[in-house]
């Protein structure tokens, strides 16, 4: 059987495309208006990331943490909760991984695995808090999770300063990790490491959970209509809590992979923001695990392009934020293409009508 994508899916994909296209167009316009060297700025921005192996490497490196947070947001939002604690979970994940790396002296690979497990557990606990408050006390998860992120930040910084602070460092950095804790590099001249492979495997696992297990099915159903899920005999509360814990674990794992892939010690002084980026990535990927790497690659490419442009020309890096903002606004604007959508709907309804008349 050929599976025809239904009209709604087509419209959704088109809308995403239109949003991306329009936001890029606007940014080009801004560059042309304000820059003294618009041509070289645009060139750096668009093809800069492809001009050297190191830069291509930078794109892949930047993509890796974004994949984790994108997956995390996908998992969190599929259940219909706007849980924003993935930002805190990512950060706490890195803190817990630091603890796992510095507290034990286990054989090389095992210690790495233990540290990552620490990160996942810690991340899961963070997102569990808004979830249980939602299910048991009907507290708005948006508010609780947003506030929780600050708790995570200061708790994490406290843990690092109190237990793992390296007095030889001027800043608030932890001790250096053992060499065995650093994720091996894959290519020379770049910092691409096995973390990227872990990320891609995670994509597959999340895809499997969401599409091939009854748990994933339940998460989607609860997110779409929890009334109907409950009436079908699904324990919506358990499903929500499970999905939120899982989402936090993904973010936590991302924190540890980023830490061991790119750093030798814990260095964050604030929330790194990957969690917020995850929201954009999940939206662009339409909450589908399989599109997450693509969306993450896209954002990473923009970032690196803007970075190169800002170093060579008079356009600042923050231009990327404008693109992100416009994209979110446009994708969430339901009215865009709504006429086209209605046309497709009308066509589909008429086809069904004719089918009905033949029966």
């Amino acid at each position: 059987m050929t599976i025809k994508k239904n009209a709604m899916t087509i419209v959704e994909i088109l809308r995403t495309m239109v949003a991306i296209f329009c936001s890029l167009l606007m940014v080009f316009a801004i560059i042309l208006l304000v820059s003294d060297q618009p041509v070289s700025a645009l060139r750096d921005f668009l093809i800069g990331p492809l001009t050297s192996v190191r830069r291509i490497g930078n794109v892949i490196e930047a993509m890796t943490p974004l994949i984790f947070t994108g997956l995390s947001v996908t998992m969190l939002y599929r259940a219909g909760l706007f849980n924003l604690a993935m930002e805190g979970a990512f950060f706490i994940g890195a803190v817990a991984a630091t603890a796992g790396a510095l507290l034990f002296d286990l054989p090389p690979v095992i210690n790495l695995v233990v540290a990552m497990a620490f990160a996942m557990i810690a991340g899961g606990i963070v997102t569990f808090i808004p979830a249980i408050l939602k299910v048991k006390c009907h507290a708005n998860e948006l508010v609780t999770s947003l506030m929780l992120n600050y708790v995570c930040l200061y708790l994490g910084l406290y843990i690092i300063t109190a237990f793992f602070y390296d007095p030889q460092m001027n800043s608030n950095y932890s001790y250096m990790f053992a060499d065995s804790m650093v994720l091996p590099k894959l290519f020379s001249k770049t910092r691409i490491n096995t973390g990227t492979i872990i990320a891609l495997v995670t994509v597959f696992v999340v895809w499997l959970i969401l599409n091939k297990t009854s748990f994933g099915y339940k998460v989607t159903l609860v997110g779409k209509n929890d009334n109907m899920a409950k009436y079908s005999g699904i324990h919506a509360g358990i499903v929500i809590i499970g999905s939120q814990i899982l989402g936090g674990m993904l973010a936590g794992l991302g924190g540890s992979v980023e830490l061991f892939g790119m750093y030798q010690r814990f260095q964050y002084q604030g929330l790194p923001g990957y969690g917020w980026d995850g929201v954009l990535i999940a939206i662009v990927a339409r909450y589908q695990a399989k599109y997450i790497p693509l969306a993450a690659l896209f954002l990473a490419y923009l970032r690196i392009g803007a970075d190169i442009m800002s170093r060579n020309t008079d356009i600042p890096f923050e231009i990327v934020k404008i693109i992100q903002a416009i994209m979110i606004v446009l994708i969430s604007a339901q009215a865009i293409l709504s006429k086209y959508r209605q046309k497709l709907v009308v066509k589909e309804a008429k086809e069904l009508e004719e089918m009905g008349e033949k029966v």
Binding site: Y217, N225, M228, A229, Y231, E353
Partner: protein, 514 residues
């Protein structure tokens, strides 16, 4: 033929979820008449009026009012033209007084403030002119339904409406209130107003209307003068066949007791006792119809049995087990299925595919899995079979459930609930607002289940459905059983109405003995 005040031509409306609510519908209304717009639930009457009123955009067609084409985009614009609508569900601010509601948005001003005196006077004058007996100072929340309706009509008149649309005005009224309403409508007509009267009650329409336009399944069937038509003719137009639906069923063979409800009481979240000491038994092979005016505890009774609530008092014995306080999941596993009252809120998830809707109760079943993972082929095979068996009209199983028409959406629910192979099926308004074909199909399936020795608890506000389909009838009134008839043929529709309205009530002995 008088002169035409309203002409709606070839109106087509498809909702964003793909439901074709109107297809090339016509409506021609003469000035100064009471024009009935008739059709069953889901025939597209309300949609047509929403389009006229500017609340819903149309996909094609033309509207002429007083000879000029109009294309209003909002209710406010339409009201200005002199068209007013009394909605089925009142649009009143409960906490305000009557006059405040009437003048809301068009307050007479004295400087910066509302001129209270003249507002009250205005309402009083209008009320007197049209013989709408309401107290301008009364609080809306204290008023009865009938009086609230008068306030609505007053609201429309004060805004200068020449054409009034009344959306099923009698649905919520008692017979006395209905009579009063009709007198007022005739007075309005004599004053030169035109009225579109939406209803599916043939008798009422024959009482006061001049012409009838009938819709069926979203399509225009025809327009005729009331004087030239008989009730049978109108009903044939509405239903699309000669008489009201009948069902072919063999005499019931009752088995042993399947469900034993004992002294069940339930106080809802608004602290109202919605079920009061309800007891009854349901046997295998029996269709027990629960009749009653809506909101008398029937829905709560079904949801109690199916485990929706906590803190229910009494006992519900199913197959010798008390199922009270069990989870919905456990109740389903024990062999009870439920067709809920509201298919859009509870019965289906509109935004997911048909196959996802069909497996929601059995997603953990081994039959759909292979090596612990969901197996796409098994799921597809099962859902395709259900779509075929239950004649669900759709493109394929990947279509969104929200794209289906009401009848087909209901068939999705019915397919899932019946194929779970339950011992007991609770059907709560199983055929509300769906087309005749689907209705007949669902009835047939219910009778099949009964003949297979299953128990059916049928809850319906549709008297014809209760009378036709049930073997036995339980009447609910005010959260209590008012009467029970072992054989549904022992009671007439008229008598049933007496029990439903609480005019008559059986004693407990009578119910037991019957």
């Amino acid at each position: 033929m008088g002169n035409e005040i309203l002409r709606m031509e070839q109106i087509t409306k498809i909702y964003p979820n793909g439901v074709m609510a109107n297809k090339e519908v016509n409506l021609f209304v003469n000035a100064g008449e009471i024009h009935a717009l008739m059709g069953e639930n889901g025939a597209g009457k309300s949609t047509l009026m929403k389009i006229l009123f500017g609340i819903e955009p149309k996909d094609s067609g033309k509207i002429y009012f007083k000879g000029k084409e109009i294309n209003t985009q909002s209710a406010a614009e339409t009201i200005k033209l002199g068209i007013g609508m009394v909605h089925q569900h009142f649009m009143l601010v409960e906490s305000l007084r009557v006059y405040e509601n009437v003048i809301l948005g068009m307050e007479p001003k004295k400087g910066l403030f509302t001129d209270k005196e003249s507002a009250i006077q205005l309402v009083k004058d209008m009320a007197k002119k049209y013989n709408l007996n309401v107290d301008p100072m009364a609080k809306v929340s204290d008023l009865s339904v009938g009086v609230k309706q008068k306030v609505e009509i007053l609201k429309v008149l004060v805004r200068g409406a020449k054409l009034l649309i009344l959306d099923e005005p009698t649905a919520v009224l008692t017979p006395q209130e209905t009579k009063e309403l009709f007198e007022q409508l005739i007075l309005l007509k004599q004053n030169g107003h035109t009225i579109i009267f939406i209803s599916h009650k043939i008798k009422e329409v024959r009482q006061i209307c001049d012409n009838i336009t009938v819709l069926r399944g979203g399509r225009y069937v025809g327009t005729m003068p009331v004087a030239d038509s008989t009730e049978e003719e109108i009903s044939r137009f509405m239903v699309g066949r000669d008489v009201v639906l009948k069902v072919n069923k063999s005499p019931a063979k009752f088995g042993d007791v399947l469900l034993d409800v004992q002294n069940v009481s339930y106080i809802n979240q608004e602290n109202k006792k919605v079920l009061n000491n309800v007891s009854f038994q349901l046997k295998r092979g029996q269709i027990l119809g629960v009749a009653g005016v809506e909101g008398n505890g029937q829905n709560e009774l079904a949801e109690c049995i199916f485990g929706f609530y906590k803190n229910v008092q009494g006992k519900i014995i199913f197959n010798n087990q008390n199922i009270l306080e069990k989870s919905i999941h456990d109740i389903r596993t024990l062999g009870i299925s439920y067709i809920p009252e509201d298919r859009i809120k509870t019965g289906v998830a509109k935004d997911v595919t048909i196959w996802e809707n069909l497996v929601s109760d059995r997603i953990d079943s081994k039959e759909l899995k292979q090596k612990g993972l969901l197996n796409g082929k098994k799921i597809r095979d099962m859902t395709k079979k259900l779509i075929a068996d239950f004649a669900i009209l759709c493109k394929n199983e990947d279509q969104q459930a929200g794209m289906l028409s009401g009848g087909n959406m209901q068939k999705v629910v019915v397919a899932r609930e019946f194929s779970a192979n339950p011992e007991l099926l609770i059907a709560n308004q199983p055929t509300r607002g769906i087309d005749v074909g689907a209705n007949e199909f669902i009835w047939k399936k219910i009778v099949e289940q009964r003949d297979a020795g299953k128990g059916i608890l049928l809850i319906s506000a549709d008297l014809n459905e209760v009378m036709e389909l049930s073997d036995s009838i339980l009447v609910m009134c005010d959260g209590e059983p008012a009467a029970y008839f072992e054989n549904s043929k022992d009671i007439t529709e008229y008598e049933l109405g007496m029990y439903m309205l609480g005019i008559k009530k059986q004693t407990e002995q009578e119910r037991r003995g019957a």
